[in-house]
Amino acid sequence: MKAGGGDGLLKRRGLEILLTAPSLIWMGLFFALPTFLVFLIAFRPADPWGGVGDGFTLESWARLGNPAYPLIFWRTLWLSAATTVICLVLAVPVAYWLARLDRGLRRWMLILVILPFWTNFLIRIFAWKTLLHPEGYVKELLLFFGFSDAQAQLLYNPWAVLIVLVYSYLPFAILPLYAAAEKFDFSLVEAAWDLGAGRLRAFWSVFVPGISKGLLTAFLIVFVPALGSYAIPDIIGGTSSEMIGNRIAQRVFTDRNLPHASALSALLALAVLLPMVAYLVQLGREQRRLRKEGGAE
């Protein structure tokens, strides 16, 4: 009996490993290993032919002291943060609205949300370039209504980059928030109304905390890729709106200095990973505390 139970457990364990193995191998080969290599190369010297030399050096890390970098890092950070905040602020009401829509209509609206993905990413960015062009529709529209003068430049500045970043990442914010909103129990909003809360108050104090997991997912799914943006600032932004991604590309393709590019990448990775690790540690602590308290359940 006991042996049989143990055997079953062993079998279950084996099955578990078998089932998770493909994703583990995939993540190991294509995520963990490359990340490790990037960190490794950052400590190697560059060779004159664009390759990686032997031995270890901190030279690439010292080069991060380049006086141009703090500004670019700051710009990367605020552009990504602003993109994330704007995307979330726009996506939360959309998610609420989608989740309350009747099923038939909701399906069509969701298709509209993912419709942009049917067009190639680069083509959509070039489309924005055309729109924001000095002779483009947006400019003409603004001129027509007197919101802009003929000299004003819409393209090649951080604001243009921000607009296109928000445009590109908005669906990525809407989808996880919608997934959370769909599971949200809307009788809680009714309960809040019933207890005297206005619609806005009920939305803020009940709906938004209720989809906090979706908010976290949306934050990660927008903020992390936004930090690594390369194509958008390259095409829309020009030299005055460079982000770290552009510098990394420049180090790889123009300077052919892989260790330097790796050091920049590693720094960016740390900027993302450290807060995430801190969050996970905090979450673990919280859960242990709740489990200890929740003796009743």
Partner: protein
């Protein structure tokens, strides 16, 4: 004197379906009033109209003389206990209870005092800092009640509050609700499909069917004198026998032709034209079951039959007796030890008898109140 809560001609349609169909209702201040009916009868729609979550297509809602029909939910002096409790999962028990007071802008120190009082009322002072997922179903229920009552509503709406609890807990919570009502004296409107809850808790109740109110009355009235066949059928176990009105051998009594069962006497103080189709409503526990040679009082109705089935339930035994072309349900309490008697068995011939006062006549036209048809 106008009623404390007054509903007039409330109607709500969803497309072609009428959820609530011209309902009039008056609630007395401080009473426990139940809306009782099967699912889809419109009771929940009516509750949501009172709460302000949906607007009626027609009709008015007045509370203490004030027209609230178009007032939004958050500005009504009415609070709700939701079926699934709808406690805010991200807030503690204390914060949940304080929610309404915080929105009302009550100073923090006063909120703390009021919440403490509520926690005492629901006997949960030791659980103030727990989250909803850390407490049991019955406790959640009590928190939901406290969260509503702390706002001192004129009317407390309870939407099937015990439906999610198991039987034992349901009985306990019913007593708990009664105690809370005694303590606070707030007017309760209790919506349920469970007649046991409605009968046990309410001062008065309304039985609803198909968006209409079939009958309003005290639990005993509704049980003993159902206005329609639907009410007789829905409340408790009943034998509903089809028949025709016969003569009036005595004032207030009517002779009823029951086809294969012959002629019986029933209490009926309303005028009924002879020959009218009607139903005789006979509660199983009012029928006496005896051996055929048993002595029966002269003025009792008597019908012979044969036992076809029986089920022993401890407190009583339920028999099915074939009488004429009908199967009658008969319930016998155990007055003395069941085992002492020679038990009735399937196939035994028996004599059924009941007092004429225990047979209640309801009109033949389904769904139309008695007064309208019998005249």
């Amino acid at each position: 004197m106008s009623a404390f809560i007054e509903l007039r001609g409330i109607t709500k349609r969803y497309g072609d379906a009428v959820a609530v169909d011209g309902v009039d209702l008056d609630l007395v201040k401080g009473e426990v009033f139940s809306l009782l009916g099967p699912s889809g009868c419109g009771k929940t729609t009516l509750l949501r109209i009172l709460a302000g979550f949906i607007m009626p297509d027609a009709g008015t809602v007045r509370v203490d003389g004030v027209d609230l029909t178009r007032v939004p939910a958050n500005q009504r002096p009415i609070n709700t206990v939701f079926q699934n409790y709808a406690l805010f999962p991200h807030l503690s028990v204390r914060q949940n209870i304080a929610f309404g007071r915080k929105i009302a802008g009550v100073p923090a120190a006063q909120i703390r005092r009021e919440v403490d009082r509520m926690l005492d009322l629901i006997q949960m002072a030791g659980h103030a800092d727990k989250r909803p997922h850390q407490i049991s179903g019955g406790q959640k229920q009590r928190v939901a009640i406290a969260r509503a009552l702390i706002n001192e509503p004129r009317l407390l709406l309870l939407d099937e509050p015990l439906a999610a609890l198991d039987l034992k807990l349901r009985q306990h919570m019913l007593l708990e609700l009664e105690r809370i009502h005694r303590d606070v004296g707030t007017t309760f409107l209790y919506v349920t499909h469970d007649q046991g809850e409605a009968m046990g808790l309410s001062d008065r109740l309304a039985v609803m069917n198909g968006g209409r109110v079939e009958q309003i009355g005290a639990p005993a009235e509704v049980y003993e004198a159902p206005a329609t066949r639907f009410v007789a059928d829905f409340i408790g176990d009943t034998n509903i026998l089809d028949g025709h009105a016969g003569s009036r051998p005595r004032p207030d009594y009517l002779s009823v032709e029951l086809g294969s069962l012959g002629r019986v006497l029933a209490w009926c103080d309303r005028p009924v034209a002879a020959g009218k189709t009607l139903h005789l409503c006979l509660r199983p526990e009012k029928i006496r079951l005896e051996r055929p040679n048993g002595g029966v009082d002269d003025d009792w109705n008597r019908v012979g039959g044969t036992i076809t089935e029986y089920n022993y339930f401890g407190s009583h035994t339920r028999f099915v007796v074939r009488a004429g072309a009908l199967d009658l349900s008969v319930v016998q309490p155990h007055r003395r030890c069941f085992l002492d008697e020679k038990p009735f068995a399937p196939g035994d011939p028996v004599m059924l008898s009941w007092h004429p006062d225990d047979g209640y006549v309801i009109p033949g036209n389904h769904g139309v109140p008695a007064e309208a048809v019998l005249q």
